[in-house]
Amino acid sequence: MPATPITNLTSVDYAIMAIYFVVVLGVGWILRRVMRTSTDFFLSGRSLPAWITGIAFISANLGAQEVIGMGASGAKYGIATSHFYWVGAIPAMVFVGLFMMPFYYGSRARSVPEYLRLRFDEKTRTLNAVSFAAMTIFSSGVSMYAMGKLFNLLLGWSFDVSIMVSAVIVLSYVLLGGLTSAIYNEVLQFFLIVFGFIPLVWLGLNAVGGWEGLTARLAEVSTARGYPANAYTSAWSNLGDSASNPIGVEWFGLVMGLGFVLSFGYWCTDFLVVQRAMAADSMTAARRTPLIAAVPKMLFPFLVILPGMIALVLGAEYAASGQGLVPAKLAADGAPLLDATGRVVLDYDLATPMMLVHLFPSGMLGLGLTALLASFMSGMAGNVTAFNTVWTYDIYQSHIRRGASDVHYLMMGRIATVGGILLSIAAAYLASAFNNIMDLLQLVFAFVNAPLFATFALGMFWRRSTGHGAFAGLLSGTIAAAIHHGLTLPAGAQPGVKGGFFGVLHTYPSELAQTFWTAIIAWSTCFVVTILVSLATRPRPAEELRGLVYSLTPRSTDKDLPWIRRPWVLGGAVLALTAALNFVFF
């Protein structure tokens, strides 16, 4: 525990937190009555309307990596961080809604790995299920770790106690109400985060003199770091050359690596988010889920990235060693940590939390911190509900115990929930090496998810692709990612977890640039290997692939819907608005 926490809470702040906890637990308590079958527990009985699953779709992803990580990236890379949304998430969400949801929802698969079982074979499913299960535990652990560390630093709370309390709360409401409970609380957390962050951005922008004031102040930071003056406030104009923007990547690496490979890999194939759409009450609702989610998602950069950018130029708390509100990372002896070029390493993950502490008086501070807690817990619950489903259906039911009663699998789901949380706690104590959570998560996604989108794209749109092809492609894609990571290193890093463990062939300007290229290589390897092996192996007969492959599935024309509710119209509108945002912040 640090000697002096950064701030103290008053009783009104604690009252606000207490009200939130009571409501969250109350939701689980009320929903406990309806958890009768495993489908109720794992898929909400496929009964939720699109606006609820839509909000849950983004909220399940709204964990620490989003709220803290995007603020950190905002401070580190500026407005270009919005590419995670405007190049990455939104087009991917439109694609999954329009093109992929018919297969996920229509095939009646209960999970993404189960779709792979139907389309390809058991081994492809198991590979995906095992790596996915490991990833959910890891993400949930990282989220817990970040929360424990943050609340220790800000408020002096004990790391162990923060982790245990949040774990017990998430455990209680997921055990009681299953996926419905997780989804209801995600909707609640979504509104809490929106209402906690709007006043933060409003006060922050006022304090720095609006967008013009922010642009002027960031121009100084930018010039001092050797970038063009608008490097932090324009999203595209410095992407021609990797040396002139803080991300350290040129437009091709960004669009291909982040946009096409990583974001499509995440939003289109990650069961954590797809599970929310699968809980929808109809095919139309399932298809509209990611499209509805894309509307608020498009505006999220203003909510989560702007606070980080403002933190860089607001106040002078850390003028001596840090920058604005962002303190320096400290070495073991208490002195500011320096990188290989002698520059101070900033603790970017503190950008958004410091904004809360700097701008909110007690009362609102309680609300802001409750919103942060909500985001941590929502990320954790999302991972745990995805984990228990994949574990129960795709690992336990298909390998350990087949043909047991539904009551048995429901019980297994509850046991897996407890197990998942215990493993997450273990992971929380392991996670600590990176200075930016986002980079670490992106790295893991790059190894596991990047090849995955190639497998799904080929599986859904090329009926000739086979199970052996998919399996070989996935495996070689992940191996290619590891080899590439092992042979390259971001500037200023030591060989080790950040790369270069096989020797350094190439040095990237930043960790993100390295991650994007790892993803591109993994995807391309998987794509090529899947095609080659598929051509050499026996294809499945067409009648077995009906409803699983694009060319063998009747298109839904949506003729019975009023035009305004048709997925194509909604998707087109979302893309047009996103293009406009890219243009405004060019």
Partner: protein, 87 residues
């Protein structure tokens, strides 16, 4: 809008926001005469103003829940296996 769970999601959200809004509004009124309290937020009584916004949002959702409940014939629709839409 009540789903097969029998719980309209707008009820807990409305309840949460109405309660939080009320707490912030009352606290904002109680601290309105203390200028040092709002030095951080540039002399804006953010508790009072944002409390009122949250209170209004919460009450709106509670109203929507109440209207939605009157619309459905039965108070708690029974879960249907055929993917029936709520309300």
């Amino acid at each position: 809008m009540s789903t097969s769970s029998g719980l309209d999601v707008r009820l807990p959200i409305g309840g949460l926001f109405a309660s939080l809004g009320l707490v912030l509004t009352v606290y904002g009124l109680a601290t309105a005469d203390d200028p040092t309290h709002y030095a951080r937020s540039m002399s804006v009584n953010i508790n009072l103003w944002w409390g009122l916004v949250m209170l209004a949002f919460g009450l709106l959702l509670l109203l929507a829940t109440w209207l939605g409940r009157r619309d459905t014939s039965g108070p708690h629709p029974i879960p249907a296996a055929n993917g029936k839409k709520g309300s």
